[in-house]
Amino acid sequence: MRLLRGIMCMGPVARALLALAALVVWVGSSPAQGPAGTRASSAEVERLAGTVKAVDPRAGTIDLVTGVGLSLRVRHIHLPAALKVKGAASESTAVALAPGAIVRLECRRTPGGMVASTAELVRPAPRGIKR
């Protein structure tokens, strides 16, 4: 019914073009398939993506801004000394994860807090917003 209503709203020229298109399909062409996509995520590891707000190299922690919409939160995350930051030019996590950098982390929850098991630099820290 919706298709019929759509056809009714067309002008005569558009209906003629539609008819011709239908004819092409009728005489043997395959209809085009629209793109389709699905997303899947694993719930086994907590994945976080956010902006580094602060780095404490001595404590081996960062504060990461995450959130949804305009409801933002700061997550305190421990970075093991051996953690390598994928995609970073520097081997040093403190240099790679400067305030303003955007990172993806895989974290596990421990009695001592959230501990990163993998880190990927999405975007280095900008020089600051335009002022």
Binding site: R2, L4, R5, G6, I7, M8, C9, M10, G11, P12, R15, A16, L18, A19, L20, A22, L23, W26, V27, G34, P35, A36, G37, A49, G50, T51, K53, D63, V65, T66, G67, V68, G69, L70, S71, L72, R73, V74, P99, G100, I102, R104, V122, R123, A125, P126, R127, G128, I129, K130, R131
Partner: protein, 386 residues
């Protein structure tokens, strides 16, 4: 010849159908999009119930909040519309140039009300804003047609970005990005990437209602909530209710523009001539979507969903990559229903809103000011048709 004969038969049949049936009228304000399935319509109606539901502390409200229901603010002239409430946002541009959104201190949205329990515990009647922060007033926008803007592909937005003004037209257009690096498009600073996230965040930031997407209450000035002020366990709203609200907002039809008379048609041409459309791009096209009514549609939103500098007089807060003077091009669809104009409601008329544009829009404003009274009136008539 057989193929030509078939074409003629089809054309005749379809023309007969067109002549026999009437085109369905455009949706009224607050109606769902045309072309939704029965199931989607059912979800729209269920979502409207949650959208209009009034929350109390016993059902999760607060302890900090701006409103007791989505529909308390988004109400004019119908549910999902604009509102006359003005709320407070605040951030700080740090010395190193990074935008501090005051996440750890309750920002960037600072709530104007508290529940009786929190007032009794802390003796406050609103969330305190750090003294050193820059404040911004934010009006309540309408939500009509936002599902279509949500369905516009990133590439269509990014294709119009010209951050370094390489075409030397005085208009740049910069994308903003969320904290996780995704392209933003919702909110006055184009900070939020997706409509569902804007809705989920609004439940937490505007009503203090936690959900699976935002399962934690915000702190107050960096300190956790006092015991006993938040009696409902998290999450306070189910995923199902959140999904229904998303459906309601996503399926709200855009306002149908009024038919234009000759003066309005002239105004549409003036709009193009003085280059308002450099930022207020008349239409965008959606991409693929699981919802047929949102798939490959043209939405006459009059926005490019990019940031533009509006001049130092309009500057307020930073947000993400947005500088204090940068704002997302406000969609003009539904303009005739707005009780006030600009992000802070400072302009009471459309003429005043145009005159208050600065920065990248300065050239367009100069051209507007040079219009003859008749052409200026025509432009305003066109804008009042949106």
């Amino acid at each position: 010849m057989r193929a030509a004969g078939r074409a003629l038969v089809l054309i005749s049949a379809l023309n007969a159908l067109g002549a026999a049936g009437a085109c369905p009228p455009a949706p009224r304000l607050g109606d769902p999009l045309r072309g939704l399935s029965a199931d989607q319509l059912d979800r729209f109606r269920q979502g409207q119930e949650v959208f209009e539901r009034e929350f109390t502390p016993a059902t999760g409200l607060g302890p900090l909040f701006n409103s007791i229901a989505c529909g308390e603010c988004h109400e004019n002239p119908v549910t999902g519309g604009a509102g006359d409430e003005v709320e407070t946002h605040a951030t700080i541009v740090r010395a190193d140039g990074i935008c501090d959104q005051l996440e750890a201190r309750g920002g960037p949205v600072f709530q104007l009300h508290v529940t009786p329990a929190l007032q009794a515990a802390l003796g406050i009647d609103h969330e305190p804003v750090p003294a050193e922060a820059t404040r911004a007033a934010r009006t309540t926008p309408d939500l009509f047609g936002l599902g279509l803007l949500d369905a516009v592909p990133d590439r269509e937005i990014l294709a119009r970005a010209d951050p370094d003004d390489r075409d030397h037209d005085g208009v740049s257009g910069r994308p903003n990005y969320f904290v996780d690096g995704r392209l933003g498009r919702f909110g006055r600073k184009a900070f939020v990437p997706a409509l569902a996230e804007f809705n989920h965040g609004a439940f937490a930031a505007e009503m203090g209602i936690t959900s699976p997407a935002q399962p934690s209450e915000e702190s107050i000035g960096g300190k956790p909530l006092p015991p006993g002020v938040d009696p409902v366990p998290e999450p306070e709203l189910s995923q199902e209710d959140m999904d229904r609200v998303d459906d309601f907002v996503r399926f709200l039809a855009p306002p149908a523009p009024l038919a234009l008379d000759r003066q309005g048609e002239l105004g549409r041409r003036v709009f193009a001539e003085i280059r308002c459309g450099a930022c207020h791009v008349p239409s965008l096209t959606t991409g693929d979507s699981p919802v047929a009514a949102l798939r490959y549609r043209t939405v006459e939103a009059y926005t490019d969903l990019l940031l533009h500098a509006m001049g130092p007089e309009r500057a307020d807060i930073c947000l993400g990559q947005a500088a204090p003077d940068e704002f997302r091009t406000e969609p003009l669809m539904g303009l005739r229903f707005m009780p006030a104009f600009l992000h802070d409601g400072k302009a009471k008329t459309i003429d005043e809103a145009i005159q208050l544009h600065g920065g990248e829009a300065a050239g367009a404003v100069r051209r507007y000011q040079r219009l003859t009274p008749a052409r200026r009136e025509a432009l305003l008539r066109f804008l009042k048709s949106l």
